[in-house]
Subunit: 300 residues, 2 copies
């Protein structure tokens, strides 16, 4: 059976968050609808976080109400039980929880220790209904902006703990800085996937193209058996706490690799590129894409 | 035994040719020396072609005389017997001959049919001394700017003919437009390498990053058993007869993947990035690199 790659579009979360001035709610909703129309089957629509911490996400309930009937798997980032309850209350039954393996990055990102974040994961798991879907993002699974290469032992220890707390979750190894290389991606996924604690988990790769390795790293993950990939249309985004990190790998660049390589993502590249152009035109957007800059007739 | 990737630096040929106003000979020589000092063990120093056809290469004899004692394998492109004789006369004993599998691209590139180019290859082979090294570049081995995807059967037919004429040559499958994808690279190299006619040939991959697949395609070739990779420092270059094609994959981006992934190329990235900056500053240079834009302390 031919495997089918799942593209998880994160521009509305990782991407919109990177634009300091909050976008109009209607524009966000319009872009999420356009992404679904392009064939994006999984979309991270935003974060149910305190508007004080991230003002760009203050309109999540309104967005969720407007898009929740779309024919796509919709996911929202939640930092804690309150966020999870708000997501569920808004009809979003797939949530993403983030922990960073680097202590220092975790402190910068969510102002708590990794152990505290693990306890928070346990709390979120305990309030999720049986039919909810959980994604766990393990940030700095390769490299940390503060500490350089993160030891494989630290990654495996973190993955094992997550597997014990959330044995059915989809675990993403996140290349937060874009500094992973494809050989390292292969090694780390193989090791993580062979842990007995992760026997029931699914797998995802979240990558950036900052060092030019974005597509290569995702393809290495795919070859390791990973089926889900976080990307952002137009390459919008970046981590505000990871200096030098540019946007997520552009959705169009990775979709090109899969679609042209015979592994259909279900995404229509021409329609997607129109959405990517719309995203790139947002005031304050910082984008990075290869495919947007080739003649459109050659892109698909 | 750990395999060692060979980076073939082509900025002085594919790259300098893309700059319309000829560069000062001393500047070219300086850059070739600096590339060797960065650890580039194979360098394509230019083309022994008619100065009428490509005025940028009129000073090849002078360049060859100045660099031929460098501790690196030096190669020069030759379009015909006269070019080969001029290269040999200048002390360059490794030559590269180009044929394009797409008839229309071959006509645009060298104004003759593929069959005529094959006859030209036979002529070049016949004048090369026993100890000379031959590289054969098969352009448009994946995609043609005029015809789209080039049929695999055409590629295999071309490869088999080259293998018969030049049974010990290093054959490069060239992604002239950058439109190959890693899955296609895997498939085509596997098929080409299993032809009985190529049993004695070595293999190289020449790629561009136009569609964001540059590093991914090279890594796919490496995984297929290919050991040599054409790249250009700073991503300088492009094919003047392939509309929309930007430069070769940046040497620094691919070296990062290999060095960081545990397959040492012998190239010092920090030194290379200084050369890449020098190349990017050349008047008329069009470049594309990821690594040049990350904080230098993070690049290696």
């Amino acid at each position: 059976m031919t495997r089918k790659p799942q593209i998880c579009e994160v521009a509305p979360r990782d991407g919109f968050q990177s634009i300091s001035n909050p976008l109009p709610t209607e524009e966000k909703i319009g872009i999420i609808r356009a992404l679904a129309a392009a064939g994006c089957a999984r979309i991270e629509i935003g974060s149910f976080v305190s508007p004080k911490a991230i003002p760009q996400m203050a309109d999540m309930a309104e967005i969720a109400a407007a898009v929740r009937e779309l024919p796509a798997r919709l996911c929202a980032l939640v930092p804690n039980v309150r966020g999870a309850e708000n997501a569920l209350g808004a009809g979003i039954t797939e949530v993403c929880y983030v922990l960073s393996i680097s202590e220092r990055h975790n402190q910068n990102n969510v102002r708590q220790s990794f152990a505290q974040s693990l306890a928070g994961l346990q709390d979120v798991v305990s309030v999720l209904p049986e039919d909810a879907i959980l994604r766990v993002d393990l940030a700095t699974a390769f490299d940390s902006p503060f500490d350089g290469t993160v030891p494989l032992a630290d990654v495996l220890s973190a993955v094992a703990k997550v597997g014990q707390i959330a044995p059915r979750a989809e675990i993403a190894l996140c290349d937060t800085t874009g500094r992973a290389n494809p050989f390292m991606v292969t090694t780390r996924f193989a090791a993580a996937m062979s842990l007995p604690e992760t026997a029931g988990n699914g797998w995802a790769f979240h990558g950036h193209d900052t060092f030019g390795q974005g597509v290569a790293n995702a393809v290495a993950a795919w070859q390791s058996g990973v089926d889900a990939f976080d990307t952002a249309a137009a390459g919008l985004g970046g981590c505000p706490f990871a200096p030098g990190a540019t946007g997520n790998t552009a959705t169009e660049d990775l979709v090109f690799a899969f679609n042209e390589g015979g592994f259909e993502t279900g995404i229509d590249i021409k329609v997607l590129l129109d959405v990517a152009d719309r995203i790139a035109a947002l005031p304050g957007a910082v984008v990075a894409s290869h495919l947007r800059h080739v003649p459109r007739r050659r892109a698909a």
